[in-house]
């Protein structure tokens, strides 16, 4: 069942169109992550779902009902703000049950509900504290609690982890995922962090410049990016992208050349496919190899030892390349090395940056 549906939503601020016709559906219970660079319009879309902004055109449906003009208070939505927006003058319990108080629920019932939700979020000890007496992670949980208390039709998260430190971010990410499994309510989550998107989403909606660039499961987007933007946005470290030129074509086989490299032979989906203009290889499909087996030679700029792996950054004639190597790999800045690719897993892009091959079978 479709829980939330946007239909050709457009929005301009003055002469600038920030949302250029976005359509999308979230299924009941689905965890959808809107991800994209700053200014891509993802927060604006979330705010329109909440009713805090009005689209200039297009429709918003909750289930089968048109909600485009319904005021925010009537949408039964729980929202977690980036700043948490906890009222400094209220205790944790009061903060969590504001919506109930406004609706005229008696104090004892409110307290009961606060205790119930607090237990779920491990906040029971903190109910009588003020937000100023809580840590960042605890405030974050109170904000989530406030959304849960009213038993909403959907949860909206607006970059909820950006004020937390790295360790807490990982922990809270897991907690939100667990919460989603527990209450199984539709969640729409906005972030600019591709790691959050990859780890939490049932489905990622990748936005750029006010448009949906691609949507699908995290793995679909990772393996089959529709274009260069998606390919380089998802994945850390970023995909290596090198300019290439086709020197010969024989049906679906093309010989590609790049600056400072021997030829690379790739397979194209059909004889009609346009010539690839760039090739993308993820760092995990890139290797530092013995001379003779590699495609390009380069100089190591730095080697990042992460314990579980080594990220080797090399400067080659075709550009900078990152290779992910096993933890015992020894590399030193200044060494001259050879770089090889797993060509079978390479992504090919045409002159417009659109993907020309895909990896559905992988």
């Amino acid at each position: 069942m479709v829980a939330i549906r946007l239909q050709d939503i457009r929005k301009s601020y003055g002469p600038v169109e920030v949302i250029k016709g976005v359509s999308f559906e979230a299924e009941q219970g689905e965890f959808v992550v809107f991800v994209g660079p700053s200014g891509c319009g993802k927060s604006t879309i979330l705010r329109m779902i909440a009713g805090l902004e009005k689209p200039d055109s297009g429709e918003i449906y909750f289930g089968d009902d048109r909600y485009t003009d319904v005021p925010p208070g009537k949408r039964e939505i729980g929202m977690v703000f980036q700043s948490y927006a906890l009222y400094p003058h209220m205790s944790v319990a009061d903060n969590m049950t504001v919506s109930l108080r406004l609706a005229g629920v008696p104090k004892t019932d409110r307290r009961k509900r606060a205790v119930e939700v607090a237990r779920m979020l491990k906040l029971d000890e903190l109910l009588d504290r003020k937000p100023a007496e809580l840590s960042g992670g605890q405030r974050q949980r109170v904000a989530i609690g406030r959304a849960i208390v009213r038993d909403p039709k959907a949860f909206l998260f607006d970059e909820p982890l950006s004020n937390l430190d790295a360790a807490l971010r990982v922990e809270t990410r897991l907690e939100i995922s667990r919460l989603h499994q527990q209450i199984n309510t539709t969640m729409i989550y906005v972030t600019h962090d591709q790691t959050e998107a990859m780890t939490m989403a049932d489905r990622i909606v990748l936005l750029d410049a006010g448009q949906v660039v691609q949507q699908g499961t995290p793995l679909e987007l990772y393996r089959n990016p529709a274009n260069l933007f998606v390919a380089t946005f998802l994945g850390s470290p970023k995909m290596n992208v090198l300019d290439v030129a086709a020197v010969s074509r024989d049906g679906t086989t093309a010989q590609l050349t790049m600056a400072g490299a021997s030829h690379v032979s790739v397979t194209l989906p059909s004889p009609e496919t346009a010539d690839p203009k760039s090739i993308g290889v993820r760092p995990e499909d890139t290797r530092i190899v013995p001379e003779g087996e590699g495609v390009l030679s380069g100089t190591i700029i730095s080697a990042e030892h992460l314990g579980s792996e080594v990220l080797v950054h090399t400067e080659t004639a075709a550009g900078q390349i990152i290779a992910k190597m096993p933890p015992d790999f020894s590399a030193h800045a200044g060494d001259t090395v050879w770089v090889g690719f797993n060509v079978a897993r390479a992504h090919l892009f045409d002159a417009d940056g659109l993907t020309i091959n895909n990896h559905a079978r992988q």
Binding site: G73, S99, L102, A103
Partner: protein, 282 residues
Amino acid sequence: MLRDWRFWFFLPTLLALGIVVLFPTGYLLWMSLAHWIITEPGVYFDGLANFRTLFRSASFYDSARVTALYLFFSTVIMMVFAMLMALALQHSRSGILRSAIVLPLVIPPVVAGFTWRFLLNGEIGFLGAWLFPMVGLDVNMLSNPSGALVSVIIADVWSRTPFMFLIFLAALQGIPRDYYEAVRLDGATAVQEFFTVTLPLMRSAVAVALLFRVVDAINTFELIYVMTKGGPGRATQTLSLLGWKTAFQNYDLGGAAALGVVMLVVTTISAGIMFARFMRKA
């Protein structure tokens, strides 16, 4: 201590504070304990005689009552107006409207007093001689006791509301938008929004405004002086006007100083209470 170089750095501040605050205050205290009437020869220490006289005089209690009424009504009306205007204009970008509201603030109280005195004048004033009679209000506001008090309150509200408006406006604009959005999502009406978010988050601004207001109201002098001189009778004679009369009409400097000390104590205590009540918690 004199060898410590740090002493010489705060010496200028200490001197300035001594000259402009400590010395005059000390002098006031001394005056309040002195028999010092200009028309009588000799100035001498007289213990608490000035205070005894003050607390036995009917005009002191009368002035205290007038001051309390004046303080209460002007403050309440001012707060309501200032709050309403700040709420109405918080999202407005019109500088003209805001400037128009702030205009009375830059008009000296003496000029404001004269302006209102002429506006309300029963023979030539626009309000008193023309507008009030037209709507059937045949009163000469300034010449009847309660009318006069109402008049000075109106003039004071007109003149000092902008200051409170500015404090409130600044406080309102400092409230993060997220709070309003969160409470709107929780289904708040405009009134609920005001009492759940706006007012609690403006608490310290309201306390500061009140603090200024109380001190300002107790010390108001020139506006009332030019409008009514404290009359008719003693209807608008506040404590500061009583002080002026005592010093410059009765030439009793000691008595006026005693009144000054009482006002200082009252103002300090009320400011202290307000500070403790609102500022610390906020």
